[in-house]
Symmetry: C2
Subunit: 201 residues, 2 copies
């Protein structure tokens, strides 16, 4: 016996990743308990995000301006294009402050299981950008999962006819990673791609 | 490098129970991806809950009417008062469709660790209701945790001077529960409170 209004909210919350029906209910009760300090601000923050941000027509990043601030930044290298799965990955790479080219957000990875087809991803706009001939290198920065790598190969195939080099992120031991805890696949990749420590080149 | 609007939303989301900063970010990205189908409806559901529901001045339940529909229901037994921690517990008991008295929502449990004092809970309004003399029995239905039982004893103490019987929920083996998986405390309680199977009374 709760209320229709609450049921609707609990159902909407339970569709968020990481929340099931039970934890959604707990979250809603928490919001009800802290109506002024949390529910109000949350509604306001969501409304602001919903009205302020829109997808960039060029790279599919989310921004308050359109095209986004990365696409319109003249100091960024137009000739390098980094392909990411979603904006969280774009943010992660931006936090690392190391890549100064442009981005392209696919919006997901191919997945037979979840029914994600190439047409569901922003692949045709990527091909369109490369076709313009302004790009030297496409860096495919997708997760080292089955879906990520399948998608990476599919994207690479789509770009095969263009005069552009397609690269992927290096695999290996993460910084701070203990060998003991790494999976065999990563260790094999790290061994294969081993590098000289005394640079003799 | 995300946006101030997004940072505010991620921070607001991460204050929900069950969501940390990382899962809050994932939830926000999910909402951005499904702006029309999920973010919009979620804002609407929250706004509706925020404007439609208010705490009942008598029992502290949340309802669209004030006093709430349980407090104003003439078919419910005024003489039994069930004390619960929060409205989720009230809902759970209502779902069981077995208790037909009135409720009183404490709004939490005493906790030295979280700094929850008696004044932070709806105890004085409970004492006020009992003082009116309309109550025969107060059923304290709090969790079988240290905080829950501490609170139960505190509440029972506050009601000691009134002509009212104070009871607690029975402890024992939950329906469908396998003995093998039960903790010793529950088993001990279940054994102590054992009941005749052939009703000879």
């Amino acid at each position: 016996m709760s209320h229709p209004e609450l049921d609707v909210l609990i159902r909407a919350m339970s569709r968020l990743p990481g929340l099931g029906p039970r934890s959604a209910r707990r979250a809603v009760i928490h919001l009800l308990k802290h109506r002024d300090t949390q529910l109000g601000p949350l509604i306001e923050a969501m409304t602001r995000v919903s009205s302020a941000l829109s997808p960039c027509p060029i790279c599919h990043n989310m921004d308050t301006r359109s095209p986004c601030s990365i696409c319109t930044d003249p100091r960024r290298n137009l000739r390098q294009l980094c392909v990411v799965e979603d904006i969280a990955d774009l943010w992660a790479l931006e936090r690392a402050q190391n890549f100064r080219g442009k981005f392209h957000v696919l919006g997901g990875t191919l997945s037979a299981m979840d029914g994600v087809q190439p047409d569901d991803l922003n692949i045709s706009t990527l091909v369109g950008r490369v076709r313009k001939g302004e790009t030297d290198e496409v860096i495919i920065a997708l997760s080292a999962t089955v879906e990520g790598q399948t998608t990476a190969h599919y994207v690479a195939d789509q770009l095969a006819g263009f005069d552009v080099s397609v690269t992927g992120l290096a695999h290996g031991v993460p910084l701070g990673g203990e060998l003991d805890y790494l999976d065999d696949g990563t260790l094999t990749q790290a061994m294969k791609a081993r590098r000289p420590l005394n640079e003799r080149t």
